[in-house]
Amino acid sequence: MPFEYIDDIAIADVAFRAVGQTVEEMFIAAAEATMGAMVERLEAIEPREARQIALSSPALDMLLFNLLQEIIFFKDAEQLLLRIESLTITSDEAQYGAKASARGEQIDSGRHETIVDVKAVTLHRFTVEQTARGWECFVILDI
């Protein structure tokens, strides 16, 4: 898995590191880690409904923050569990943009093994960086 949960940091919450060879891969991995904090076995989420997500931000890390917040928003507003299928990131001088295609379905307690509700993405130690191997982010989710 391109993400791992990390013990002993912000212990009442969930911390994870996600990686990708490209920034897009890393964003998708972070979205999976966020959903994975809420539901075991992500493959149990069937792609029954689609949502297009378009976001922009002057900073790349806040673009990721916004994307993860969207995943959390749909979970409450529409009871939708979403996985990102494809994502492109663009940039110009002023800002970064992200366009994502997400698919998923309504929470079904019979089929989805839920864990805990993610309340928010925090900015404590929140980082997005390019490494020798690609891209990496560190995120703490409020539980």
Binding site: A12, D76, A77, K119, T122, D142
Partner: protein, 485 residues
């Protein structure tokens, strides 16, 4: 490395980090707890409490309560009071789950009287009080009505028939904090929250049927004054917050503050999660008014849940809730910022007190305390893990040292991930049932994360608050039934 080596012992329960510990600290930091508790505290507590001490306008000390642990922005258990004029307001000092809090309701029943009904009671509570991820409640309101509701809080609920008038005077702020302004909340916040009134949520949120056994009454006079007056009395306690609505309000303003904090106000913080704005700035005032809507949503949420609890007891035991003596004892908020008068250098001053994972605990006779608590002091609940039990305490006169604040729970000592690896949900559920605690849960994984050993020793935490003179122990409640989010 244990943080205690970096602290100066002030008393058996107060430990100080001097203001020269870190660049930018404006005041010293003080951590409350016994030597055992402080020895076990993680490095995050030291880092975050000293970060809080750098915030503009902070008065006296950046504080951490005995249940403190690593959070984000403030530590969990963090308390900081800012000068109203020169200070800041920070969502990271309140938490995303604004007014996450607890409510306690008594019954006139003994454990023997409910024993044979216990499973039915818990099963029905599990059905009637939705728990878990993304759940929605039974109160159907339009988005416009929701905007009205968040300005009126629990008062809205009582007007609609969800509760008794007396519940309001037993709730902080009478269930409705003034100055809530729905024009300051986003459409997104409304969409996230308007279907969630009357829901528990998940994580450490719970609804328990508990028993106050005679041997667990530590102050009989206070217990009696608060309505605990029969042996093995049954009570219901629950813990939940402002749900997706409050989470979105905090997220919205965290981003607003990040944009203006440096460029407009020249404030730098050591952690972006401490993003803030001057309290009296337009952004600060907008957040204050929006955050109050989230405070009210949470009061309303707990009010509707109380209504459901009364309905379930009435249905299962075939008696009117009035005849079952289902009076609320108190409702306390954990994650708030409020304007309060406090003593600073012998002078009364208006301060914006941030409490994050901390409870207000006013002493007897304090201004703002409803008449029925005037002699007892404010009742305070300190919730333990689902395996160990919870405490009822009261505020005391000597609480000014912490701006009349005390602990809110037992505090975690183990990460969720580690707890899930160590404990198995189904086994834990069976073990608890064998020990007389019947549990229904929306998530067995979530249950494993909340296992008792993942938390500090609740007895040590409450004793630390009593020894420090910030709250007084009244009674301990042990769980017999639990609905887990």
């Amino acid at each position: 490395m244990a943080i205690i080596s970096k602290l100066k012992k002030i008393s058996d329960t107060v430990w100080e980090v001097p203001a020269d510990y870190k660049e930018g600290m404006r005041v010293p930091a003080r951590i409350y707890g016994t030597e055992k508790l402080v020895t076990e505290m993680d490095e995050g507590v030291l880092e975050q409490t000293t970060n809080v001490a750098t915030l503009p306008g902070i008065e006296k000390y950046a504080l951490c309560m005995p249940d403190g642990h690593w959070g984000y922005g403030f530590p969990i258990g963090g308390v900081a009071a800012m000068d109203e004029r020169s200070g800041v307001i920070s969502p990271g000092g309140i938490g995303f789950d604004v007014n996450c809090g607890m409510r306690l309701v008594l019954t006139s029943l003994t454990y023997d009287e409910i024993r044979e009904h216990l499973r039915r009671l818990v099963d029905r509570l599990f059905e009637r009080v939705p728990a878990g991820i993304g759940c929605s409640g039974f109160v159907k309101v339009s988005q416009d009505e929701f905007r009205t509701m968040v300005e009126k809080g629990a008062q809205w609920c009582v007007e609609k028939g969800y509760g008794w008038a007396e519940d309001l005077e037993r709730t902080e702020e009478f269930g409705r904090v003034g100055g809530a302004d729905a024009s300051k909340i986003s459409q997104k916040a409304v969409e996230r929250g308007y279907k969630q009134i009357g829901t528990l949520g998940s994580g450490n949120h719970y609804l328990e049927i508990q028993v106050a056994r005679s041997e667990n009454i530590f102050d009989p006079a206070l217990a009696k004054a608060l309505g605990i007056n029969i042996a093995d009395q049954v009570a219901v306690m629950f813990h939940c917050g402002s749900r997706g609505f409050g989470h979105q309000v905090a997220t919205d303003y965290l981003q607003t503050f990040l944009k203006v904090m440096g460029p407009k106000y020249g404030i730098r913080t050591p952690d972006r999660e401490l993003a803030c704005a001057p309290f009296l700035s337009p952004e600060g005032q907008d957040y204050f008014a929006a955050m109050k809507c989230a405070i009210n949503m949470s009061f309303a949420n707990r009010q509707v849940i109380l209504h459901r609890v009364r309905e379930v007891f009435s249905e299962v035991l075939r008696k009117d809730p009035v005849d079952l003596g289902m009076h609320q004892v108190c409702d306390v908020a954990h994650n708030t910022a409020r304007l309060e008068m406090h003593d600073v250098g012998g002078r009364q001053k208006r301060l914006l007190v941030h409490r994050k994972g901390a409870t207000r605990a006013l002493g007897p006779g304090a201004e703002g305390l409803p008449a029925l608590y005037r002699l007892t002091g404010q009742p305070v609940i300190i919730g333990g893990s689902m395996e160990t039990g919870s405490y009822l305490l009261t505020g005391v006169d000597s609480g000014e040292q912490t701006f009349f604040s005390t602990a809110h729970g037992s505090g975690r000592t183990m990460s969720r991930h580690k707890a899930k690896k160590m404990f198995h949900g189904k086994t834990l559920q069976r073990d608890m049932e064998r020990r007389g605690i019947y549990v229904r849960t929306a998530s067995l994984s979530g249950l494993a994360e909340e296992a008792g050993p993942a938390y500090k020793d609740i007895d040590e935490v409450v004793q630390a608050t009593q020894a420090a003179g910030i709250s007084k122990i009244v009674a301990r409640f042990v769980p017999v039934g639990n609905v887990k989010g």
